[in-house]
């Protein structure tokens, strides 16, 4: 057990006992430095959480949270939102036939129209969403099934997509662009909105399809191979995703700038939703003037080109019209939460006040029990 320490092993600075008997002047004291850090005497703030010290914090939290909560609640309540389910599960719903007779390869588009009435007019810009329920865009394998390099316009990735895209990587030996399950399952219903005048005539509402994707997505993350010049040529030698009816460079026949990977509907779809019930921005109905509401109250018809099947997973399809505020869409939860938490804090503050009066004074002359 007598480990000899003589072979100069000064491990970690603590050398075992035997000091050298070398020169007399060479004796260097091992005395530790008397510094605040080494002696653990650094000046410190030592808060003690007692009722007395934290009382103000509770009241302050309460006083801050309740107004925030009220603000949020009011804001949320001012947001107008309208939702219509057009899945067509019920026999008497207009899209029932379309829903039933679905197959991905239908050549004839099935159309149906849903009528609805807006009770209140929608002011300012109105955002039109499509909503899907029970669609697990966040499934692990699904989320992975894409090739970001390809979408970023990488030529080599265009012709040789990532393995992650399997089994939607190639179609009969030809690389698919855009590859992967996400792109393959692109939402392809077309929604048109008509306002029914009091005299019964249908006025198509102008739906803006630009500006629905993130600016960074449109301009940085998604790029067409070889820029935007002649994208048909750029996509030569690639196949369209198996579920698609038209190739990626023909997604928007009306606007050549909105084709290929930078098609905004496509970009929006590619940003996979976090939760199984989600909505995605479809169109924006821009404010016409300050005097007339964007969408006056009244009757509307939603015309759907019904392409997208959801019955295989018990899904629902919805069209949502919503105005938005600084806090986004309508969601009263946060406001209520703030108000509740604020109130609880306030209440706790009061309880602590009582406790403080009962106990804290005693603490100052307290003794430590054995």
């Amino acid at each position: 057990m007598m480990a000899s320490s003589y072979n100069a092993k000064e491990e970690d600075g603590h050398h075992s006992g035997a000091t050298s008997h070398g020169g007399a002047g060479a004796v260097k004291s091992k005395k530790p430095d008397n510094t605040a850090f080494k002696q653990q005497r650094l000046p410190a703030w030592q808060p003690i959480l007692t009722a007395g010290t934290v009382l103000p914090a509770f009241f302050v939290i309460g006083l801050i949270f309740i107004p925030i909560g009220i603000g949020l609640y009011v804001t949320s309540n001012n947001i107008k939102e309208f939702e219509v389910d057009y899945t067509g599960v019920d026999v008497d719903s207009p899209c029932y036939t379309c829903a039933m007779n679905f197959s991905w390869n239908n050549t004839l588009p099935c159309t149906c129209s849903v009528d609805f009435t807006l009770e209140q007019p929608f002011e300012s810009n109105v955002f039109m969403y499509y909503g899907l329920s029970n669609f697990y865009q966040n499934h692990r394998r699904y989320v992975k099934s894409r090739d970001d390099s390809q979408l970023n316009g990488d030529r080599s990735a265009l012709t040789n997509p990532s393995k992650e895209c399997e089994p939607y990587r190639t179609s009969e030996g030809v690389p698919i662009a855009p590859c992967g399950a996400i792109a393959n399952s692109l939402f392809n219903d077309t929604l048109d909105l008509f306002h029914i005048d009091s005299n019964g005539s249908r006025n198509a509402i102008n739906l803006v399809k630009k500006g629905i994707a993130w600016w960074t997505d449109k301009h940085v993350k998604f790029r067409n191979p070889g820029g935007n010049s002649n994208i048909t040529l750029a996509f030569q030698g690639t196949a369209k995703p198996v579920n698609w009816r038209k190739p990626v460079f023909e997604l928007d026949p009306s606007d050549p700038e909105n084709n290929g990977f930078i098609n905004e509907d496509f970009i929006v779809w590619m940003r996979t939703a976090a939760l199984p019930t989600f909505r995605k921005l479809y169109r924006i109905i821009q404010k016409k003037s300050s005097t007339t509401p964007t969408l006056p109250s009244g009757k509307y018809t939603l015309e759907i080109t019904y392409n997208y099947p959801v019955l295989s997973f018990d899904g629902r399809k919805r069209m949502i019209l919503s105005t938005i505020s600084w806090m986004g869409g309508k969601n009263p939860f946060l406001g209520i939460a703030y108000i509740t938490v604020g109130s609880i804090c306030f209440f706790l503050g009061v309880v602590l006040l009582i406790i403080h009066h009962k106990y804290d004074t005693r603490n100052n002359s307290a003794d430590i029990p054995n």
Binding site: S4, Y6, T50, T216, T277, M327, N331, I368
Partner: protein, 1318 residues
Amino acid sequence: MTWRSPLALMRDALRGQRAREKDLRNLVSNLPYEGLEKAKQPNRYFPSNAIKTTKYTLLLFIPMNLFEQFHRLANIYFVGLAILNFIPVVNAFQPEVALIPICVILSLTALKDAWEDFRRYQSDRKLNNTPCLIYSRKEKQFVERRWKDVRVGDFVKVVCNEIVPADLLLLDTSDLKGVCLIETANLDGETNLKQRTVVSGLSNPEFEPESFNSVVVCERPNNNLNHFKCYVEKPDKERAGAGIESLLLRGCTVRNTDHAVGFVVYAGHETKSMLNNNESRYKRSKLERKLNIDVIFCVILLFAMCLVGALGHFLWLQALPGVPPYLVADSSGHLDGPSLSGFYMFFTMIILLQILIPISLYVSIELVKIGQIFFITNDIDLFDEETDSRMQCKSLNITEDLGQIEYIFSDKTGTLTENKMVFRRCSVMGTEYPHKENAIRLAVLDEPESEEEVIFNQRPQSLQTGWSLDAEDTAPRDTTQRRGSRRRSKVAGIAQSDVAFSSPLETEVIPDKKLLQQISRAESSSGSRKTDPYLDFFLALAICNTVVVSMATAQRRRVSVSPRSYHTTNLLERLSSLVKNVGSSCLSSCKRKPKRNRTFSENSVVEEDHFRPSVKMETTKDTYGLQTCSLHAASQSNKPAATSGDLRYEAESPDEAALVYAAKAYGFILLARTPDSVTVRLPSGEDLVFEVLDTLTFDSNRKRMSVLVRHPITKEYVLFTKGADYAIMELLGTPYAEHFSGSKKNIAADTQHHLDCYAKEGLRTLCVTKKVVSAKVYESWLVDRQRALAAIDNREELIMDTAVQMETNLTLLGATGIEDRLQENVPDTIMALREAGIQVWVLTGDKPETAVNIGYACRLLEEEDLVINMSCNNKLTCTSILDCTLEEVRRYSADPRNVDTTPDISLVIDGRTLAMALSPDLQERFVDLAKRCRSVLCCRVTPLQKSRVVKVVRERLKVMTLAIGDGANDVNMIQAADIGIGISGQEGMQAVMASDFAISRFRHLKKLLLVHGHWCYTRLANMIIYFFYKNVAYVNLLFWYQFFCGFSGTAMIDYWLMIFFNLFFTSAPPIMFGIMDKDVSAEVLLGVPELYRTGQGAGEYKCSTFWVSILDAFYQSLVCFFIPYLAYQDSDIDLFTFGTPLNTISLFTILLHLSIEIKAWTVVHWVIMLGSVALYFIVTLAYSAICVTCNPPSNPYWILQSQMADPMFYLICLISTVVALLPRYTFHVMRNSIAPSPLVQARHLDQLDPSEREQWIKEWRSFRGGGQVKRSRLSTPPSPSLETHADIFPESPTASDIIGDDFTLNVISENYQGPVHT
């Protein structure tokens, strides 16, 4: 190199193997073979002297280090996960990223190992290249070579102050008698010089390496530093035996010898010192054991969660009516069925939730412990200026155990006491000589304040009188710096000498006048025969030891004092007047204790010097102090100063030195010691040279040592034996005295009385005897002896047998009492430890009386304590005592009058009884009794018993034990305890080597346990709990998300950010918390030792604490997940945008959770906490700005930026953090306000300003102290049966044996006053 067939090579290798494995080795000189190729070298099979302590080589570092690291289960777990991730069906992330954590951890550890190994390599290289002298036949002389060139069979010359390069068989020295002195401080820390002699029987007066043609036969290398068996076979087949006394061990330093030549028997890794070089031990702390259980809980939790995931996935798949577009088939278009997918999902979940097993915790704990050790070793209060030594931590991983100690087992000598032996009194031929003057001198020194003054005052004078100190150390200093300068001068002195008796205070003895007269009378009357018992007594003191004499002027630098006794006579007069003054004012302890008085038969004893420390000495102090250093024996003033004054005595045990110094004081000066002679100068100035025939060395079985000499005048064979009284008394033959003095005194009985008296004073006693051996007896004995010495098997036993044979029929000369003073602050420390709820046991080899006395002196026993004294001779009585004592104690504590008080019961037990009590059938009862006692004193215990006691208590009571000791006899105990603490003191370094922590004074234990122990424990416990919490809280976010992604194993947080989260953003704060948090300041912890109790038992790291924090983690993760979930429900939020606020919220929650736990915020805390937050934002922002397509499945690009532009992000973060932390915060506040724990109260105390705090602690102490006094008055022992026994105590064990009572059960309940206050 000639080519050799592989067969020959193999044969050679086999032969080499056999040669190394053989029990006996035949070694021959290398010289005849010098210059020949290796294959012809006779000693080629033995390793060379080059050493390699490195673990790795440059090439093999990576594979070997990896192999080493994979011994850790945690690392294998990690690698397993990484491999799992490479299996496509189960992987959760990209396979490559899963390798990152394990790679980081492995490479960090590898870097650390590489650095350590490099340092080892450097020191090896330095050592291997140290020059040394090897004989070369070519050059016919010793030539300079390197250590690594030394081979077995070489002749190596070592000159003075050089380190021995290999194990050498000593063949020649510069000393005429063939003696070589070595210092083994490097090996065992013992600083006294040891004597080695050349192999006897090689009768060449002129040693010539070239003519050495004998064969050295030695045993196989072993690691026993104290044994070596070997013989040298000369060409004529004559054998000369040699043992350890002829072996120079590698690493020793040659001292006081010009040069020595040795034959290399073992080299390199086969040397004894290298074989002793073992790795630092790995102990697992209690906390770590508990932690491992909790890790297993985590594993169970993980499996449960994975099972939930797998089952969920299965059910989810089954509920699907068709094949939805989001189910991705494999490349062949095939989709797994729900059950198979569920099965795969289980593994995916393990990968996903792997952080639940806190692998990084182990790394963090290691880092924290390094930090904690850094602070402990750097504590200036644990630094001992006298020995210039810091506290040392030898075991790096049990710091937190220091905060949980419940039982302390302490050695007495050297641990509680200084182990600086001071001769106090002696009894010769049944007459007691109290040495009053000497006692007064020591009493003055004992006063702590005056000590300083005295020593300081002496300093300037001592400069003139010849302290050989460096001028710089003794330069006059300002009076304000007195203390410091004294210390420094002392430090300097000791750093150079490392010897026990550097200060004259311990070495000087003022002779007793009566005894001096007696001696001079004896000397004159006995004439030239010199066989007067008084003379014999002192001769025995001077001869019967193993003290080595060295000169102060030798090369070895030592502090020495020239004995220029100036005002000697003057001084003695002053002293005697002092005695008169003091004598009137001091009280005899015997008088105060009438009960004990009965055993004292002689007035001389009763009158003796039980000085109270409060004796006023101020008036005389200054003048007295001036003399202290020059105090010297009066009888010596006429001696030539140069010879006797320069003598330094180097003793293995301080007792021996004390006795030699005592003999010196009476004029019996030990002048020289060689293996076969001792020179002693008599008071008359005559030098006697005794021929030493044999030395029967001390061993712990015999408890005595003897020296057999031939008297130069009478030519008689005389055996002087000294040893423990009980070991000697039974060997006494016919009394010496009767034929000479006429008085019919029974010397043995009288001496025994004196011995008992000494023991009660707390002195260490030794008996000194003499035996005249007739030539016939000696010769017959010598035959046996030589046979024993030559034996290779059972050598030790045979030698001991012969020793026992000789040591019979001894004649008692007298006895000595040596004082071993208590160390500074020992009573205070013991008090504090007891207030801290620690039971202190003292295990000592001393007699019960001595031990009890020391027990009172160091406040281990209190005056109002109920002391149970157990001592019995047979097991039956032992059982019955144990039973009835236990019954009494139980009744005592069950008595309603004592309900509110804990009875202060102390147990004194002797070794024999202890052995019985520890037998398996009584163990339980004994432990039960001991548990109820506040302190236990075990006397006369052997080292083995010490460790048994520790083991029994540790295993039976399941408590944390600490053993502290300083000597080799404590090694067993130190190793048996949970924590072993060694005191680097006078008795070498064995204890320190075996210990986990090494301190230099007992009082350091107080701060070490109460402050550092508490801190380390609370820090680490809180850190570990926090770590579990942190991992669970974070991982659960992912788990909750599984409910919303079809249990598909999706992570909504970018994997890089997840890794960074654990690796960078939240790793530094808990480590800093574990190293630097300070719940209560050191002052308050020391002032209120009760706070230590918070760590005992389960302490802060309870099972409940663990589960509460896990539950809290679940709650917090629920909040962190569901508030954002509800806020973002049915919106167009995308996967990673949803994950970002979650990540941010958990960062804030986790860090703020920690800040609720942090008790003291220093600059470091602020920097690290704020730095972590800043790092998170900087790294994440940079990552989201740069990474467009770099991490395929996730697209972090611009996500945090867009989130930070959204007010909702902040609002969600704010409310989630508040809601997550509200319960814990409120709970802390409520608990601290309504039912504050002692620690919280202590923190309140901490906030008072220092003077107020001091005042408070004082008041509180006095209040509590008052309570105790009151309590003891109230509670008189309830049982009459106990009181009847109380009277038995004062009788000595021998007396009770005579009465026929074969056991004593003594209970002293009140008014027992400890006589010695030091």
